[in-house]
């Protein structure tokens, strides 16, 4: 099983890496690129902890082969901050305590990022639909929901 060279952009940075074909995007992000903000939980596309954006679209990185990143733009939780300023979504999660143990948070925030990029002023149902694929085992959904509402009012205006 030969390694193959792939090129892609991750969090705005051009990257070249040799990778085995049976590595998932999640494994590459965490183990090769050492970006451990993206979490591994169920590893079967059920929980959304590993959500990243590929060309702006949210996907479960545990179900994507690293090879498929070739030529794409990947955004992980580490890529959200601009210089030293956190993304308004991250700020909103902090201010509203939108986390308990925090394990689902990167995935929640990435799903929120995709939602607000597409639709800056989502209604309640649209918010729930957008994070339907992200499970919080602390079951702290109310605070997460409030964080997203707050982020959307900051980004999309009231």
């Amino acid at each position: 099983m030969e390694k193959k060279e792939i090129r892609f952009k991750i969090n705005g940075e051009d990257t070249v890496i040799s990778i085995k074909p049976n590595k998932t995007l999640l494994e590459m992000i965490r183990e090769d690129l050492k970006l451990t903000g993206t979490k591994e939980a169920c590893d079967h596309g059920e929980c959304g902890a590993c959500t990243v954006l590929i060309n702006g679209v949210p996907v479960n990185s545990c179900l994507v082969l690293a090879m498929e990143a070739h030529g794409k733009e990947i955004l992980t939780i580490e890529g959200l901050k601009q210089d030293d300023r956190l993304d308004p979504i991250q700020e909103a999660f902090i201010q509203n305590t939108g986390m308990q143990c925090g394990f689902c948070t990167p995935g929640m925030i990435m799903s929120t990022k995709a939602l607000l990029n597409r639709n800056p002023k989502p209604n309640d149902d649209e918010i729930k639909e957008a994070i339907a694929g992200n499970l919080c085992r602390c079951t702290g959904y109310t605070k997460i929901f409030e964080s997203i509402k707050d982020a959307s009012s900051k980004i999309g205006g009231k």
């Binding site: 099983m1 030969e2 193959k4 074909p21 049976n22 590595k23 998932t24 494994e27 590893d43 079967h44 596309g45 059920e46 959304g48 959500t51 679209v57 949210p58 996907v59 479960n60 545990c62 179900l63 994507v64 082969l65 090879m67 498929e68 799903s111 995709a114 639909e129 957008a130 339907a132 694929g133 992200n134």
Partner: protein, 292 residues
């Protein structure tokens, strides 16, 4: 003892850039698996539910298969069209609404963005949400291989759980759906404890046309209640051409339930599934005909 595998088994990865190249590889008779979204295949490989292939063939290099278009009234969906793109396609919503309802009911956005409608069909689980909708739309599947092609009606495509008529050297390149009269209405009901996040316990698709208070056409598709997705043909026959009334609908719903042959599993008992087929078929027809 249950063993939890986490890593993928070893395989070679090929992403053909032309259909010629793809069919050349497929005709070589190697142990290959073809995939588009991978949302079904990757977990199966991780869980070692299928024999690991020597070669994994990624279809996403074949950009020409990524389309949703209308040609002469016929809807054509390419093999690379994602579930999300079908669910949100304006053409599908306006003219083949039941398919968009079904696509919307498949899993979270993260899965919808990767998985494809053709993949949902080829994976051939009895609970595939797109299947009952495609069955009532009389969809045809265009299948290609190295030296030829064929067209298979969707009701002849499934032959058992995870089994289709597809040969190892073939792929489904396109789903084709003929124009549906604009007066036809359709509903897809997915019974599931966790909405779109779980597999359907029962899936019911009903497409009907009415004329002067009669059923001019009626088609009933059922998912997750037989070894394959099925049409409830006897129930349809009972209604076709008849005057719309509550008693007849009740009878048809009972017959549809008789036509199902569900199993007991962790999601529901066979008995419950049978009862819910009757309930949902009745509910769908009543809703569509606005009968009490």
């Amino acid at each position: 003892m249950v063993i939890f595998y986490r890593r993928l088994p070893k395989f070679e990865y090929i992403k053909p850039e032309s259909q010629n190249m793809l069919f050349e590889i497929l005709s070589d008779n190697k142990n290959c698996s073809v995939y588009a979204g991978g949302t079904d295949l990757i977990p199966k490989l991780k869980k070692r539910l299928i024999k690991p292939p020597d070669v994994l063939i990624d279809l996403k290099g074949l950009n020409e298969l990524d389309y949703i278009k209308i040609e002469g009234g016929t809807l054509k969906i390419g093999a690379l069209s994602t579930i999300y793109s079908v669910a949100t396609s304006k053409i599908v919503i306006e003219k083949f609404n039941i398919l968009s309802q079904a696509a919307k009911s498949i899993a979270a956005f993260q899965i919808q963005n990767r998985g494809t409608i053709v993949g949902n069909i080829c994976n051939a689980v009895p609970s595939a949400d797109s299947a009952p909708a495609l069955l009532v739309l009389n969809a045809k599947l265009n299948i290609k291989k190295k030296d030829g092609s064929r067209k298979v009606n969707i009701d002849e495509f499934f032959i058992g759980p995870n089994k289709t008529v597809l040969d190892k050297d073939e792929i489904v390149t396109e789903v084709e759906i003929s124009e549906v009269p604009s007066s036809f209405k359709g509903i897809y009901y997915k019974l599931s404890t966790r909405g779109k996040m779980d597999l359907a316990t029962v899936g019911v698709a009903v497409l009907l046309g009415s004329d002067n208070g009669r059923f001019s056409d009626i088609r009933i598709g059922l998912g997750a209640v037989a070894p394959t997705p099925i049409r409830a043909k006897r129930a349809e026959e009972l209604l076709k051409g008849e005057k719309i009334n509550k008693e007849l609908i009740n009878n048809a719903a009972r017959i549809a339930s008789d036509e199902s042959s569900p199993i007991d599993d962790h999601r529901a008992s066979a008995t419950y599934r049978k009862i819910m087929v009757e309930t949902l078929v009745k509910r769908a027809i009543c809703r569509l005909t606005e009968v009490g």
